[in-house]
Subunit: 760 residues, 2 copies
């Protein structure tokens, strides 16, 4: 932290107040990675860029792009791709469509029935049109409610309620003496990525899985339901993929390679990411009669939803018939790729993306994000016309097939793996957009960079910078005085790491490209996610109704792209990065310690007879078994690596400061080019060829979606998940692997620092 | 803690294994306050006592006592009193009925209607009979659903939902810009004593108050509803008093004096404990249409109940008509008092009580407790016949009129104030009973004593001592390793202090009699409290169905009474007491510190603009105002007093140890008598004549019900509530008063220690 204070004071030497255009900009310091001179020019261009995006355009784009259902394989999906292609070209980008051919199942037969244990009930599995909402009635064009990549199946079995259906829930079920073996489970949405629910259910022997939207999460408990309010109505259903994406995303038939016409494909029955049991999503309207027919034990307090019934666990007496059958077809997907070639470093690519396919009309998801990148592309086109020349190549991508499994981005990133490893500077993603706070997640080598971008974008509601609003929000949300202190004193706000759930995945976690994800949210609650009600009517009534947050997203995304493309020295920063890795190390040590402490304490309680003493005979619990206390892990390799990393980050920081101390003088172009090459490689160094244990597609050693969380990141995943799963030997081995990766990263940083220093 | 370890090791010298009767008792140490010899005799008598109570008798008593509604003024209330009197006499107690005449309003008119803002709706205000439950149909004998001591009123106003209706809820309403001025509030039961809800509502300008039972708390959210399960059915209503008992309990017309025939009485309209606005309790069946007709803002997450609707705050559009009119009559209440005269110290009284009146049939509340004291009285009678002679006078009390306001016990304790101040050793209360853990609360001078009693009672389910089961339960529930460590190492389990809500109140908090409250619970959840369904059918199906916890309560209560009555040296102990007071001091200092920290932090956030930055324009919040940071309080007088207290407690402990170290030798009878007199006085010393600020009826300076919690205790109330209410000057003054009381207590303890030591 003192490091930052020092940096600021040095930069303050060149403080000047320069009149720019017709208003005065207080140039507190040159942009990071820019000389004073190039910074001034860049700031002027960025100001111009941020003035361009227009709410009216954004609204018009959304209206058009969400006018019809535009899922993979639909006519409107292709039509949108062609329209975006035309727009990119019109804006002056060198654009084309890249097609892949992917496995995309669509429903042929679907049935959910209560056949025993309550009044005979046949689930509707249908979302009704709403009179005031003009696109909700396009039934012939809508995909039925389903979970893509559910295996076909026809099962009849007793029902068990499994809460969110995550591993901890099954641990609790076991203690309550409830088995799901041979049963159909009913899980509610939320608290994990949906694909985790059938995966864990199958691991525990279930034969089928229903996933329903409880009103507690995004229905009437939260507020008025659509169309009176933004929340999920009685019959609203969340569609979505249930492929095992923590194993690998993208086309299930072509792991690791682009799904081109001639690609070698797995057979459908060989694809490991297709679920092991049939799955269907249902509404709370359809779920209520099934849940109400459950008997057995009353669900634990935290398992109870908002349905206005007593939640029981079962099994039975409710017996359910579940049938799912899909058309297992190969469908084309259309990635729209638009380029602005770099004037100085054409082989250094700065990439921006958002998907264009939706589950139905998809106004919020993904069009609210897609329209922002369209306005960014238009704005950059305007700047080009005005004489701006980006140093690096800028690539705008409108991905197809994100919804079924990040298909468009993954296939593209697999297909262009070698080029991206060689050329990609960074990938900036977005995926839908809302109202509220600027939310950034991503690579910590870009933490400072993303903070700097946030300082230059204005929040539409408060007129503060989005950075300031975020900071004050974090202060308000902080649980401890220590946390508040850090937020107030640390130069940069911490950004969360990326897990999965959107198109950055293949770039970051497979290709090793430093990535960021941008979006606004937090004040835009609703319950139309992946339903027919996520449409223009809903968005323009309940979300960013004035499209001012769409403009803010275009301003943030556009600024980031320009600033990366134009920098003299790429704005990677390793102090924040090293600080973050050190924090992860601390977390891992605490986690290992906690595992020891918890097991030791539980063993003691078993010996003392705590579980017998607290067993209510009317609600008996199976006592836990004594476990071996975990061994101490050898964190030393990682501790040493983190020390090295801290030293190299300091070296690099000093080298950068030395340059700045000289005023406007910069290192030679040749030397900068060499350093930039190293910086581009810096995220690659965090990957290894072997990838993570048991899921080799994931190469990044610091960030991955949790194998049992799906969306939520597990940082230092090989170590963290080994500890969580109590695989102590694997944890010790993983520490060595991660340490090696960090040492290699530190060497690269040190080498970059030396090149900068030598040049001086 | 080391103190305890020492004590145990000294006592261990006289460990012996003595054959008693036909089984072997490991006599680890003499009972506290007993010589080795008298301890052995006492243990034998206690064993005999605990063998006597019979589940069959308990079941028969309950069936009889709960056969008809037996509220104040009902024929069956009198009939029960007479029957208990007969039983006491039959058991060999010298028994009589003491009558008081108290204000007891009963409903004349009641109405709740939705008159605007939704479909016209008239609340039923009626609990239907249930076919399987034979006493639920005694409608002509049942008191209608109402809140006793609601003022008469007839108001029509918009409705506002106020969550639990406690002060924090109004703070949140204010920030959300919702005022209850001129409105009728709808509060849900729980999270405070019910009388707090109309009190706080009136303070905020409301004109009426409805209190309803949300299914989240004790209805279908928790489990099956009566008669299928134990929880509150659709139309079940919680009756109850809403008099301002934290001001003073008992007859509203005779504060501080017994409500005898000739007592001086306030006029009804002068009685300060009658509510300021009309109040009625309603079922969730009656509440749902009213809540569903509320508009305005959606209630905050933690305010939402389980009704299966969106909870809105209002005000309106729901407009409600509320009418309450009572018969304001003076009714007789019948306390049944049974005595066993002491053979050595007839002027030292050990008192036991439980009320006999119910709101309707009252099987759980109060009969489950009442039957235990009946079996205790029978068992003591049996012992008397077998030749046992208690040293001290034992008094068993079956109170009337507890439900409307602790009437019977309060009037008796006021009427006999001087005698009780002179003679009462201790009061042991119970009030209903359930299944699960032994729950003790009370005076900390009796903490060790109550722990010792718990060590000698066996839990029916686990066959552990109820002490051991409690300890293991506390370990299971502890949130931190430190807390677990304390539970494992401290000789005695901590007992919570008494707030209010039952008949110990006047004894402890007005008369200064050391008091304990005993009961079993924690596994006996249900939702029939104060409804017509709290009856024999419910109890015998869903609570202590085998009446084995009734037996355990009789064993615990009987053991405590005997052990207090027979002790050579009264089993008061001051180490636990001093330790507890020291803990309170620490809490108070932390509370004052937190108040400073919170205000300082909030002021800082106001300056920083946190509240503007985090204000969602679709859900605006009024920003808080800056406040003066609280001054530092002068805790020194209390710190010094606590030091003195610790020293005197150690002195007393040493004196007791010295006696024990001499083996069977005991101090002279005269000397013991003198010390016992001091011990009896020890709780009196914790009171003062002035009582608490603004509620002088409450004399105890360590324990009182919170002025805004009602049931929940506020320890060191004058200081704690002054800090909570930010009355800093009053807090500083109260510290001095409390310190004086503690110094006086320490002097008494020291004097007792010296008398014991001199005698040696």
């Amino acid at each position: 932290m003192s490091r930052r204070a020092l940096l600021v004071s040095i930069f303050c030497i060149c403080l000047s107040v320069a009149p720019v255009g017709n208003h005065v900009i207080a140039e507190e310091q040159p942009l990071y990675g820019y000389s004073a001179e190039s910074s001034q020019a860049e700031r002027q261009w960025e100001e111009k860029l941020r003035a361009i995006p227009s709410p009216e355009n954004l609204r018009a784009y959304m209206k058009l792009l969400s006018a019809h259902p535009h899922h993979v394989g639909s006519p409107y999906d292709k039509q949108n791709a062609d329209w975006i292609l035309g727009k990119f070209k019109e804006f002056g980008l060198d654009a084309n469509i890249e097609q892949f051919d992917v496995l995309f199942p669509t429903p042929k037969e679907r049935a959910v029935e209560l056949v025993e244990g309550g009044p005979k009930f046949v689930a509707k599995l249908q979302e009704p049109a709403v009179a005031v909402d003009p696109t909700s009635g396009q039934q012939s064009e809508q995909l039925p409610t389903y979970n893509a990549y559910s295996i076909d199946g026809d099962v009849t079995a007793e029902l068990v309620y499994v809460n969110y259906g995550v591993p901890e829930d099954y641990e609790q079920l076991e203690r309550m003496g409830v088995s799901v073996k041979g049963k159909i489970v009913m899980a509610r949405y939320f608290h994990s990525w949906r694909g985790i629910k059938p995966k864990v259910a199958a691991e525990h022997g279930a034969v089928g899985c229903l996933i329903y939207s409880d009103p507690h999460e995004d229905g009437f408990v939260q507020g008025g339901t659509f169309p009176a309010g933004p929340y999920r109505p009685l019959d609203g259903v969340q569609r979505g993929s249930v492929a095992d994406m923590p194993l690998y995303p993208g086309d299930p038939l072509t792991p690791g390679v682009g799904a081109t016409k001639g690609a070698k494909r797995l057979k459908v029955e060989e694809a490991p990411t297709i679920t092991k049991i049939p799955v269907l999503p249902i509404s709370y309207g359809d779920a209520q009669p099934l849940l109400a027919a459950l008997g057995g034990r009353v669900a634990p307090e935290s398992w109870r939803g908002g349905l206005g019934i007593t939640y029981h666990l079962g099994p039975g007496p409710a017996k359910v018939h579940l049938k799912v059958k899909s058309n297992w077809e190969i469908k084309p997907i259309y990635d729209v790729i638009g380029k602005i070639p770099g004037s100085v470093y054409p082989d250094e690519w700065v990439i921006r993306g958002n998907h264009h396919d939706g589950w139905v009309n998809g106004a919020e998801d993904p069009i609210a994000g897609q329209i922002a990148i369209l306005e960014e592309a238009r704005a950059l086109g305007e700047l080009l016309k005005a004489g701006w020349k980006p140093k690096r190549t800028i690539i705008y991508c409108a991905w197809d097939g994100e919804e079924p499994g990040l298909l468009g981005s993954t296939e593209w990133a697999e297909q262009h793996y070698d080029e991206l490893r060689a050329h990609a500077v960074a990938y900036v993603n977005s995926d839908s957009n809302g109202r509220g706070y600027f939310e950034v997640e991503g690579s910590h080598t870009l933490e400072k960079f993303s903070n700097d971008v946030a300082r230059d974008v204005t929040d539409p509601e408060t007129k503060l910078s989005v950075w300031k609003r975020d900071q004050l929000h974090e202060i308000a949300e902080a649980k401890t005085a220590e946390k508040r202190e850090e937020i107030r004193k640390r130069a940069d706000l911490r950004i969360p790491a990326l897990g999965s759930g959107s198109d950055y995945t293949a770039f970051l976690q497979h290709d090793g490209v430093a990535s960021l994800n941008f979006g606004f949210g937090g004040e835009d609650q609703g319950g139309i996610y992946h339903s027919i009600y996520d449409d223009f009517y809903w968005f323009s009534h309940f979300s960013d109704t004035e499209f001012v947050y769409g403009r803010a997203l275009a301003q943030a995304g556009g600024t980031a792209m320009m600033r990366l493309a134009d920098a003299d020295l790429l704005p990677f920063e390793f102090g924040d990065f090293a600080d973050t890795v050190q924090m992860y190390l601390k977390e891992l040590k605490a986690l290992a310690q906690k595992s020891q402490d918890d097991i030791r304490e539980r063993n003691r309680e078993i010996e003392e007879g705590v579980f017998q003493a607290t067993n209510d005979p009317s609600k008996p619990l199976v006592p836990p078994l004594s476990e071996t206390v975990p061994p101490h892990l050898n964190f030393a390799p990682m501790e040493n690596a983190v020390d090295t990393l801290n030293r190299s980050a300091a070296e690099y920081r000093n080298a950068v400061e030395q340059i700045n101390a000289k005023g406007s003088a910069t290192p030679s172009a040749a030397s900068l080019a060499e350093v930039n090459k190293l910086l581009i490689e810096s995220e690659r160094r965090l990957t290894n060829a072997e990838g993570l244990p048991n899921r080799s597609w994931f190469k990044h050693q610091l960030y991955a979606p949790g194998f049992y969380t799906g969306y939520e990141v597990k940082t230092v995943p090989a170590v963290r998940e080994a500890i969580e799963l109590k695989h102590w030997k694997q944890a010790d081995e993983a520490i060595v692997v991660v340490a090696r990766v960090l040492e290699s990263e530190a060497a690269l940083i040190s080498s970059a620092a030396q090149k900068l220093a030598v040049d001086k």
